[in-house]
Subunit: 284 residues, 2 copies
């Protein structure tokens, strides 16, 4: 199915475009953005990095606040920015809280009746959107990486581990590492997947690492020490670090003193993350 | 009078803080933000750059969207971000339009009765805020520059020309260069200064350049060619360029193909602007 341009901007010598389309995964309209750097020869294929956003965000937060485009332009890497949930449905309770329902799809395929028709962000991000991206943009399918923030960091880690040959490298800013063990995750998984905790494990980065690690790709993880959600034990990066250590997974885990959970933290370290991915995506 | 911290973030190795205080110029509460880079020795004085925002903005737009802090941190230069108008008053008509009243102070001292009590953003930015900044932050009063966007570009150009020894360098993104001759300016000047156009000239960058140029400081001006406000002749940079040429003023005027009026344009060129100012603010 076709995609329609909603908006287009020149930035950092490239073009940032926002698209809308009808999603077969979520059975709703969906919006995403793509940044394509400038000076790409007409027939060249370039690498792409997916960025998955956190709770309450759309595709626009990263575009407006991360300051990432100059780094992507420097490496001639495209960025793909999906939304965080289906939109335009009005399932009872969908818009009642910031951490469940709209803006909070948790990058999974819901199985509970109420949500299973539309809340299929795992399929959307892993299957449907990549096909759309390859059909419409000059992106090399063999040179793709993934990163994300908070709920999107959870998405990046779990999607990469569930599709270990699809991504060259994985990184996360303050990810929800162990959702089965934190309040955000328990609420979301109970709602979307039901009370049987065994169904939660396939969407829990710590559990996936324990079951299937180590992986060929390297993982970069930055966490701010002054992040209130880290302090409230919503993120639990140490559990992920421990699982990586036990399995021999290559992980660079940086505790960044004084940084919080905001885009000021992301904007500070996003050049490092794009450099990290470029190292695996580019020949040089 | 004292200033109170509203918010504080670590970003790019430095600290971005937002303050509120009672302004003697506007007789209202006012908010501003300051970025102080990290690794500044305890007793050192560093240079500072004021950034004046455009219509509808507060101090926060630049902070969140410009991606400027890594450049400021690189040069160890502070950034000072004022708001664009008095806040908290409810003068009849003040909140009716985006281009007059709240969010649209035009960096002048109003003389019309209705506005003259509070709309004194010229005094606020030129006199009151610099004193507060020097009293509270490690900024060298002899190494200060100024820049701005759109209405704030107008502010930066006119304030610098009216205070030619106060700023080492001046730059602007898509400034309103000749407000006496564009719809935005005519509306604002008529409202704040009255119908007598002779009173408008002291707040018009083209007229100030014609009357008092050339100035010792250099001026950098970037304009996007796809900026709809440029195309609608709200900005008139060519008139400013012509006045500079006639007076022998050093001006770097870059027409940037394909860029619009948004923060995507600003974020692309803000490193160039901070590099430009650093060239005059730093010894190296």
């Amino acid at each position: 199915m076709g995609i329609n341009v909603k908006s287009k901007w020149k930035v950092a010598g490239g073009i940032l475009s926002q698209y809308e389309h009808q999603s077969t995964s979520t059975k709703t309209g969906m919006t995403f953005s793509v940044f394509v750097p400038g000076d790409v020869p007409g027939d060249a294929k370039i690498p792409g990095i997916y960025y998955l956003s956190g709770l309450t965000c759309t595709d626009e937060n990263f575009c407006q606040k991360a300051g990432a485009f100059s780094s992507a332009a420097k490496h001639k890497v495209a960025l793909i920015l999906p939304d965080t949930s289906p939109r335009g449905t009005d399932i009872p309770g969908e818009h009642d809280s910031y951490d469940f329902g709209s803006g909070a799809g948790f990058y999974l395929n819901a199985t509970e009746d109420k949500w299973s028709e539309n809340y299929r962000m795992y399929d959307y991000v892993c299957v449907e959107l990549p096909k759309i991206v390859l059909d419409n943009f000059p992106i090399d399918p063999d040179r793709v990486s993934i990163m994300g923030h908070s709920m999107g960091g959870h998405g990046a880690l779990t999607i990469a581990m569930k599709n270990p040959t699809s991504y060259k490298s994985v990184s996360a800013f303050a990810p929800i590492c162990n959702p089965s063990k934190c309040a955000w995750g328990v609420k979301a998984f109970t709602g979307y997947l039901g009370a049987d905790e065994s169904a939660w494990l396939e969407y829990d980065a710590v559990e996936l690492m324990k079951s299937f690690g180590p992986f060929k790709f390297e993982i970069l993880l930055d966490q701010g020490s002054s992040d209130n959600f880290y302090q409230q034990k919503q993120l639990l990066p140490e559990a992920f670090e421990q699982a990586c250590n036990e399995k021999g997974q290559v992980l660079k885990f940086n505790m960044q003193a004084g940084y919080d959970h905001s885009y000021y933290f992301i904007s500070t370290f996003v050049p490092d993350h794009i450099d990290f991915h470029a190292n695996f995506l580019l020949d040089n």
